[in-house]
Assembly symmetry: C2
């Protein structure tokens, strides 16, 4: 008897009854078994050569699927969700930043939502501390671009600097775009919040911020690569140490089930859709050709794996979780 | 400049130099940044209706790829590994058990390697405790089958009972096979260790063990389903609570990248290869048709997801990790 006697439907149906004649074992003393159903802290470590990378999760934000992809029919987007066994009404967009231990430096790439995001986000600091880190020990923060879910964790709403001892490295093109007072003043209503967030986060340290150009090794082993489209100065990072390589893809794609699989689709967060799609194809193509390990800010935690070609698109093959680092 | 100037090769090559003129930011005080590179404890929670499931990892064992698949050429097995971005010389076989909170019961399905496995295994108890559980609070242990990596965690080498208050439920066919003294006495040399392990683990409690027949709801919401081939009494479990469903696939497959993808391949651990393959095809077919959530003992942690059809085989699509339960 495997699937026929009783039928698989009957098996599941029968299992719904909480007390049946066939239920075994009500023995054993009544012991305290209640464990609060809290999730494991969201951090995961892996090595890139001599660099220890810690992926740190900042929760998620749910977003209705309708209207999320600018250039695809909702039915096609739902089909992609269904193929990935994801819900068809809303997408849980997750956030995963990276902490890099490089020699005696502790370097962050992006900082999460801080206390400015959705109620289901904002777990970054608890996860960072669970991983054994102290925000005062952060020596460098590198930003990939200036959207709120990447920068708001740098400064609390009340103005507190979260990483008081960190130097701040930003893409020069991103810095130029978002700190242009004339552009900020003329921004359409929908963009005013984004400009205000940049001013709130970076205003108090604007004289100390260090803009970098693409092609530069911004800290030892971390080279910036321009990846424009998502934002004007959107940047990805090639990490290299000993024989280890990792391409930090930042927001080259939003959820891989939609945009790695369909690289020509544009999420509404892409400021220049066609430029973002061109960048996306180039970077995914390169990752697939070189079989290099990649990390994505919006891939399911721990947000790292490899890129395989499939059909006219690609697929993210998640890294196998390992208890060894 | 994205991929051409400098070339991607040059980017990675250049990044290898630890101090270059373009390196920014050596500022900041020398702070204590060393965090021991220990991995996050391997537990992960999810809900099946009102039942809280906690996947608990017990590390891994590396096994040379050569000779592992009985009925496939090494080159084809290596091709499957390469497609999954896994190493081509050896397979890391991982172990993930389940702890179920059902009402006031704490129920385990299988117990890991205990102190009898590879040095890279045996992390089960640390992960179980990190998840907030106490071995004395376990009310029921259900075994899927009697291979050492599933039963050895029930009793330490020195004879200590690890779950002193638990009732023990075992598949009747498995119990009958492994406790048959005549069969144990006549076992070929290669099988003697397996028989000895069963005697070591279950001997002291053999009078209290409760054998169950397939089709029975062994504890509320958990129904046993015969899945013979891997071992004579190998069992999978249909978990059902409210609208939640989970099929616990036990050792229906070893690593999904090999045996979900190629269900007709037989690992050397399958005692009856053709029977195991027939069971595997039936269960994977059912999981794909019903789009049900599945859990595998030897899938990469957290070892749960859904089954999609692909070509003449299947694929395990991992569940999206969630900070919410």
């Amino acid at each position: 008897m495997i699937l026929s006697d009783p039928s698989r439907r009957a098996l599941f149906a029968g299992a719904g009854a909480l007390a049946t004649a066939s239920t075994l074992g009500v023995a054993g003393p009544a012991l305290a078994r209640s464990v609060p159903p809290t999730q494991n802290p969201g951090f995961y470590r892996y090595k890139v050569g001599d660099i220890t990378v810690t992926a740190i999760n900042d929760g998620f934000a749910r977003r209705p699927l309708e209207g999320f992809v600018r250039n695809a029919e909702l039915a096609d987007v739902q089909k992609a969700m269904e193929a990935a066994f994801l819900p068809k009404d809303a997408l849980s967009i997750t956030f995963t930043t990276l902490a890099l231990q490089i020699g005696d430096r502790l370097v962050l790439i992006d900082t999460g939502n801080g206390d400015s995001g959705a109620p289901t986000s904002g777990s970054w600091m608890a996860n960072f501390k669970a991983a054994g880190f102290d925000p005062k020990s952060v020596s460098t923060v590198i930003f990939s671009h200036f959207h709120g879910d990447h920068i708001n964790g740098f400064r609390l709403k009340d103005g507190t600097a979260v990483f008081p001892n960190a130097e701040v490295l930003v893409p020069a093109a991103e810095w130029g775009f978002w700190t242009d007072e004339a552009r900020a003043g003329a921004a359409p209503e929908a963009m005013k919040g984004a400009f205000a967030a940049v001013r709130r986060v970076f205003g108090p340290v604007s004289k100390d911020v260090k803009p970098f150009e693409p092609g530069k090794e911004v800290v030892p082993g971390v080279t910036a690569i321009a990846a424009p489209g998502h934002t004007p100065g959107h940047t990805v990072f090639a990490i290299s140490s000993s024989n280890g390589r990792l391409m930090v893809m930042s927001d080259t794609t939003n959820h891989p089930a939609l945009f790695v699989r369909n690289p020509d689709w544009s999420a509404i967060f892409d400021m220049d859709g066609p430029a973002a799609a061109a960048t996306r194809r180039k970077l995914l193509d390169m990752a697939a050709a070189d079989r290099m390990q990649v990390a994505f800010y919006h891939a399911p935690f721990p947000a790292t794996g490899h890129i395989a070609r499939i059909g006219n698109g690609f697929e993210l093959v998640p890294l196998q979780w390992s208890s060894a680092i």
